[in-house]
């Protein structure tokens, strides 16, 4: 794995970079989306349909080793030859993260000093670093994250401190057991406590890892407290200096104490889903994101529809509220689509929009046919990859802040209008 930052957005921490992963045919530009999978394959998009998604930016797949725990033995996975062989996806990059944020979630009450606990479809599972690394060694992902003790936003300071201590210790344990080949991303936790976040980042900064996984998000924290928590681990010294220079005499001292995660290494986050949340993450300097949002949209019968191409453009005018949407998405279960023979997004180049109408997807949802989920996952993934492309362009043009403000503003306008309509 190789990563380099190519551009910083004017006056901000948003950054555009390039990530090279051994098995991917061409470099992947960041910020980028990792496709959410179930046992290594997208939830509904079968492998022969995957190439219809934009390449190479659809080539990073997130996989949870827990999906294989007690389902396939590490020996069998090793015999087959690891994830790339197991899934027949040789030109894809696999990123292993313990939790999948859908069915496998951290269960902090049962996590203890020997291992991390998760709720899984097969019940509660306690995974020790040794077992976890056995799975990682057999799966041979391109990138893997260390085991973490993730806690929700509401735990006590003491529990949070324990979580950071454990996570830091497990980084060392995992790294010692690490297989050859894969790049390790050290886990950075600290819940909703800025001091703990900083402490974790600082300790992590000196460890021998190739990148960082920022954990503990999407676990009950509010959107408002997120920027401070993210900045606590990603703020660069130089910028700290710039911000505090005129107002605070201790700025230089502050800079020395608060070492953040080194900026030359990639940062991956899980648990930020909505476009607004992803924008927060990108603004704070995050490079890689999970995509459980797409999974939830797809299961709910939603399709993303917001405009992508130019950040100056406003979102489409809201229609009446019976579309079941909110300006960024529509609900295809809504009866207004019963006879709608247009594609989800007229200009969309995805397989779904090139081949099927809203009326057909509405019918498939009505009769509970799986093809609905297949078509929606394809469109939503395609669309969200487009959103990431737009963000990258705006960063490269130095206009990320403008893009972000426009996006948020037009959403607000839309919601206001929709309220008036209703």
């Amino acid at each position: 794995m190789n990563f380099s930052v190519k551009a910083w957005s004017n006056g901000g921490r948003a950054r555009a970079g390039v990530l090279q992963v051994g098995s991917c045919p061409s470099p992947i530009e960041t910020p980028c989306l990792l496709l959410s999978t179930r046992k290594g394959l997208p939830h509904f998009i079968s492998p022969d349909l995957l190439p219809s998604l934009p390449s190479p930016h659809s080539h990073l797949l997130q996989v949870s080793p827990l999906h294989f725990f007690e389902a396939l033995s590490p020996n069998t996975i090793s015999t087959i030859g690891g994830l790339h062989q197991l899934l027949g996806l040789h030109e894809y990059g696999f990123v292993a993260v313990a939790r999948d944020s859908i069915q496998c979630l951290p269960e902090f009450n049962s996590t203890n000093r020997v291992g991390a606990s998760f709720e899984t479809p097969r019940g509660r599972a306690l995974i020790k670093p040794l077992e976890y690394m056995k799975l990682i060694s057999s799966l041979r992902p391109n990138i893997w994250t260390t085991l973490a003790d993730e806690v929700p936003a509401w735990v006590s300071d003491q529990r949070n401190k324990t979580s950071v201590d454990r996570t830091l210790r497990w980084i060392d344990e995992c790294v010692i057991l690490s297989p050859a080949g894969g790049a390790v991303f050290g886990a950075c936790v600290g819940g909703s406590n800025i001091e703990e976040r900083r402490r974790c980042a600082q300790e992590l900064a000196v460890k021998n890892v190739s990148g960082y996984w920022i954990g503990g998000f999407g676990l009950g924290e509010s959107m408002d407290e997120r920027p401070a928590l993210l900045n606590a681990v990603t703020v660069r010294g130089r910028q700290t200096f710039c911000i505090y220079e005129t107002t605070c005499a201790t700025s230089l001292q502050t800079l020395q104490i608060w070492k953040s995660l080194p900026e030359e290494k990639p940062r991956l986050i899980c648990g930020l889903g909505l476009p607004e949340e992803v924008l927060q993450g990108v603004a704070a300097g995050i490079d890689l994101f999970d995509s459980v949002y797409i999974y939830h949209l797809t299961l709910g019968g939603f399709a993303l529809t917001f405009l992508l191409d130019r950040f100056e453009e406003k979102l489409s005018k809201p229609r009446s509220n019976d579309t079941g949407g909110d300006g960024t998405k529509i609900n295809l279960r809504a009866t207004v689509y019963r006879k709608d023979t247009t594609p989800i997004v007229e200009s969309c180049k995805c397989y779904t929009c090139q081949n099927h109408t809203k009326a057909y997807i509405n019918h498939l949802l009505n009769v509970h046919e799986m093809l609905a989920q297949i078509l929606l996952e394809i469109h939503n993934t395609h669309h969200y990859l487009g959103f990431f492309r737009s963000m990258r362009e705006s960063i490269k043009e130095g206009k990320f802040e403008q893009f972000r403000q426009n996006f948020i503003q037009s959403r607000r306008d839309h919601l206001a209008k929709a309220t008036v309509c209703a």
Binding site: D48, T76, G88, E369, I374
Partner: protein
């Protein structure tokens, strides 16, 4: 008539033909997967084309309920609605009602049933069935018939057959798109050769574009099953397609093709996939089985499908019956298997090596030579020598 049927090759009773339908040029014998609600469960239309599907079946009863035939018509027909460029076939809706609804009753007027929507009594007449199918717009539409279980005996069988004949005239009269859609008549008559014969003669007199053999695959014994098929295929016209409804298993398809049938439909390959069963030349592989967890071979090493080229039994084992992808991948393989079987039947007949194909097929499925007696009996009538794949001990069993 909106089809052309050209026999390209024969081996005794078996035939390989080219069936030209309004939307596709098909090669027979062929298997038609069932896409009840305007989709084959878990597969895109592009995948179905990749797999080689030629005709897909839609169920009139389900489509009439949702999204309704009026809506399909308004949006340009089922082909356009589901974006399927190749051929479609719809059933009459009668069989679905009788099999799905407890309160269905058949009178001279039609099939009466309780609406599953509001419980009100409803009536599906032959005229209505055709009208609905005209709106859906499939390449082949089926006449409404009076279906009785093959296991039933007595005068009801004869009554149903004669009613089916009376209804065919009402269907023909109601058919508004004979130049775009082909109305197939259905041979009824249970397991009674006299009734079957009367029905065939009655239908042939109407000179329909094609004929179906109905009322089978409903629990009758296998010997009765193939004998009805054999009887009908000898009396039905040579220059018209013959469709055995609700069949089925690969073995049944091979036997029926040897007897001169051309078309088949069944939910089995996709339904069994959802329960974790794969079709292979040796029979079936149950991927749920514990032994599969460590099996690193493909589902079928001789299969060239996307699934067998990429996946191990072990991986499919951990998906089946738990994850959507499990049934998607298995359905893909199973349909690929059925399409390969169809193609092999077609080409082996054309190339004059049909008996060799049948023997190889039976050898794989019955490696010990224990070919079922009914298959041996049918093959004798079909004039296919299968002695090379039958163990003497088994073939001598009566």
């Amino acid at each position: 008539m909106a089809l052309r049927f050209e026999v390209l090759g024969r081996f005794n009773r078996a035939r390989a033909a080219q069936l030209t339908l309004p939307h596709f040029l098909c090669q027979t014998p062929l298997f038609m997967p069932v896409g009840t609600q305007g989709t084959i469960k878990g597969l895109t239309t592009t995948q179905l084309e990749d797999i080689g599907c030629q005709i897909i079946l839609g169920n009139t009863y389900h489509l009439a309920l949702r999204p309704t035939s009026e809506l399909i018509d308004e949006l340009g027909g089922l082909h356009k609605f589901m974006n399927w460029p190749r051929a479609l076939l719809t059933d009459s809706g009668g069989f679905q009602m009788v099999s799905l609804l407890h309160l269905a009753d058949i009178t001279e007027k039609g099939v009466t049933f309780q609406s599953p929507v509001d419980g009100k009594p409803m009536l599906l007449t032959p005229e209505e069935s055709i009208q609905i199918q005209n709106r859906i717009g499939a390449d082949i539409i089926m006449a409404l018939d009076d279906v009785v279980k093959t296991t039933i005996t007595g005068p009801r069988i004869g009554e149903a057959m004669r009613r089916t004949l009376r209804w065919i005239d009402r269907c023909i009269a109601a058919h508004k798109r004979p130049h775009e859609q082909n109305l197939f008549g259905i041979v009824q008559g249970g397991l009674d050769p006299v009734l079957r014969d009367e029905c065939v003669r009655g239908l042939v007199a109407r000179d329909l574009p094609g004929y179906a053999i109905g009322g089978l695959a409903g629990g009758e014994d296998k010997d009765s099953f193939w004998r009805v098929v054999a009887q009908c295929t000898t009396t039905l016209p040579e220059d018209k397609p013959r469709y055995v409804m609700g069949v089925g298993y690969p073995l049944d398809i091979v036997v029926c093709s040897a007897l001169g049938a051309d078309m088949y439909d069944c939910v089995y390959p996709t339904r069994t996939a959802r329960f974790g069963t794969a079709l292979v030349p040796e029979g079936v592989v149950k991927l749920k089985h514990k032994a599969m967890a460590d099996d690193t071979s493909p589902i079928d090493p001789t299969c060239a499908c996307m699934v067998c080229k990429n996946y191990t039994r072990a991986y499919i084992h951990c998906l089946v019956t738990k994850d959507a992808m499990g049934s998607q991948l298995l359905s893909y393989h199973n349909l690929y298997y059925m399409m390969t079987l169809s193609r092999d039947l077609h080409s082996s007949i054309i190339q004059g090596r049909f008996p060799e194909f049948v023997c190889k097929f039976l050898q794989k499925m019955f490696p010990k030579g224990d070919v079922p007696q009914w298959v041996c009996n049918a093959m004798e009538v079909a004039g296919i020598d299968i002695s090379s794949c039958c163990a003497p001990f088994f073939s001598s069993q009566g």
